[in-house]
Amino acid sequence: MAQTQTKTKTKTIKKASTVDDDKVSTGIAGFDEITRGGLPRGRVSVVLGGPGTGKTIFGLQTLVAGARSGSRGIYVAFEESPEKVRANAARFDWELSSAQGKRGIEIFDAQLSRTVLQGGEFDLVGLLAMLGTRAKKLGADRIVFDGIDMLLVHLGDPLLVRREMFRLRDWIHETGLTGIITAKPTKRDDGRGSPDHADIEFMADCVVSLDHFLSAGTAVRMLRVSKYRGDAHSASEHPFTISRTGIHLTDPSALEISHSVSKTKISSGIKRLDAMLGGGYFRSSSILISGAPGTAKTSMAVSFAHAACLRKEPTLLVSFDEAPGQIVRNMASIGFRLAPHVKSGMLKIISLRSHAGRPEAHVARVRSILDEHRTKNLIIDPISGLAQMHDELLGGEAALQLLDAAKSLLITVLSTSLLPDVATLGEQAPISISNIADTWVHLAYASRGGERNRSLSVIKSRGTSHSNQVREFLLSDHGVEITDTYAASGEVYMGTLRWDKEVDDRHQRDATRRSAEHQEKNAERALAMTEARLAALRVEQALREADLDRLKTERTADAELVVDEEREREVRRGTLEPGILPSRRGNGVAHR
């Protein structure tokens, strides 16, 4: 991817020839990317397609791209006059009639006159010799043979047609010109003029098939590179459109997204989902919410719309087959009050009939509203409302055009799609899904334990760290809520199972709590006992102190008694003056 981007950048600045020496840029947005540089240089590329599929435009556009980068080319017109080719080219912004255009592209009239008589077999030997001379003189490096079957049909023999096609191929290889040969796909049995398909596949170095068909009254164009000798290429079908700049592939996988990429995150309206997405959706990105019917895709979408309105951002909700009033009423039941936002004009709801009118008409209507409403957020519910084909879940070319237009206006687009569950889809979603969605949230019913619960998972979120967990989400009377995930040993628990799990856990917690309480009580009791013991000891201590005091007092009293007795004795011996006590010895000494 990074490689492609570098290439594209170089291309816009420098000549195509400097990008990749063995590739020739076609100037077709997206084509050079899917072929990693364009058509094989000096080789034969065959552009196959029925009338009106854009073969001529493909060829001319490649010459125009060359002329713009200073190369020259020859356009050999077998089917139309050079005047007519120029007139057709004038419908595009190619400036083919400018001096540069005239110098860069020579249109060679190769129409066989209608009055010509068929005198036998002929060949391209002379024509190729003349064209070789011309190419050398002009310094051309590319040549387009448009509608050569118109000439070869005169040969009337498939074998001869084949011989001339191989002659042409060999000539291109010899001259080193990059050749484009347009051809109509033919059935094996009617290959009168047109080269047989198998031969073309065999002789060409690169085969590009263009298809143009009607589906439900709408034109669908598809391009496919069915062969690219010796090179990796995307072989899938790519939708394309033809505008004033020419052919461009509308499949964003093939295009370098030139829209400025926003780093700002905006809320999905669901807190938990914002957390899962690392802050929310990127502003100006595209978000796809897929899921089976009834998985609350609309509720998710409205949740986003509601949050956007609260941020005072003009939001447009395009709903298919559901009237605005119906949406407002239904959403009120899960707590989204949309009516005030509708009244203030912040939220605009338009309802379209999916099977009335062409998708292009719907797109045109929405586009005109985008400008006038200054829409910041666009919600398409569901995007299959813009489908051309009944089995198209992602909308067709029209949807891609709208997404592209919205992106260039920096509008955040949230679309919903009725996709089967991701398990059957696998992660191998059709290329277009993952490419129209920067963020893809899938909603599903997970049935386990005899219950169907809604689950949500973020399948991808470009440029964001996101939670890979599958979550359960609930619709409550205050909107959409995502519950805590109960993930244990890789299992996600939902509904009753989750509840059971919770109850189990609660029991376990209770048991733990009870045992803790028990221990606490024991400890308390132990403490109380200790305290009681302490109290008893204190009483004992007090008793013993009291005892001690009593003993001391008694002893002093005894001593005094002894002294008195001694004094009595001394007094009686006549050695002491009466009234002088030996306990007051100091006085007695002083007296002595």
């Binding site: 129409q111 010509v116 005198g119 002929f122 060949d123 030997v125 010799a129 005169h154």
Partner: protein, 108 residues
């Protein structure tokens, strides 16, 4: 042409032919041979034939607006007429030049 057929002068008018060939390519060789044989059958008619090899002189072919080889162009009498191919088809050759088919026994 029908008028020319009726006018003796016109019948005798010089027929100017150009045969554009691509050197040794088989169809070009055949065209030369078939044309020479055909003209040999009409030796009494004044014919001016120029054979141009576009391999040797591609500019000439480009200038004259030649597309495939071989191509026989009858410049005169007017209108100009072209016959493409190796001229194996004598009916087409005769019609292109404006001469009648004299010996058509090996060509239906």
């Amino acid at each position: 042409m029908s008028r020319g057929g009726l006018d003796p002068k016109a019948i005798r008018e010089r027929t100017v032919l150009r045969l554009y060939v691509a050197g040794p390519a088989p169809n070009s060789q055949l065209a030369r041979a078939h044309l020479k044989a055909f003209l040999g059958e009409h030796a009494d008619r004044p014919v001016e034939l120029e054979i141009i090899d576009v391999l040797a002189n591609p500019e000439r072919g480009l200038k004259d607006g030649i597309l495939v080889t071989p191509t026989l162009v009858r410049l005169r009498p007017a209108p100009q007429q072209q016959v493409v191919g190796n001229l194996r088809n004598r009916a087409a050759l005769a019609a292109g030049i404006g001469f009648p088919v004299i010996r058509a026994h090996h060509e239906k």
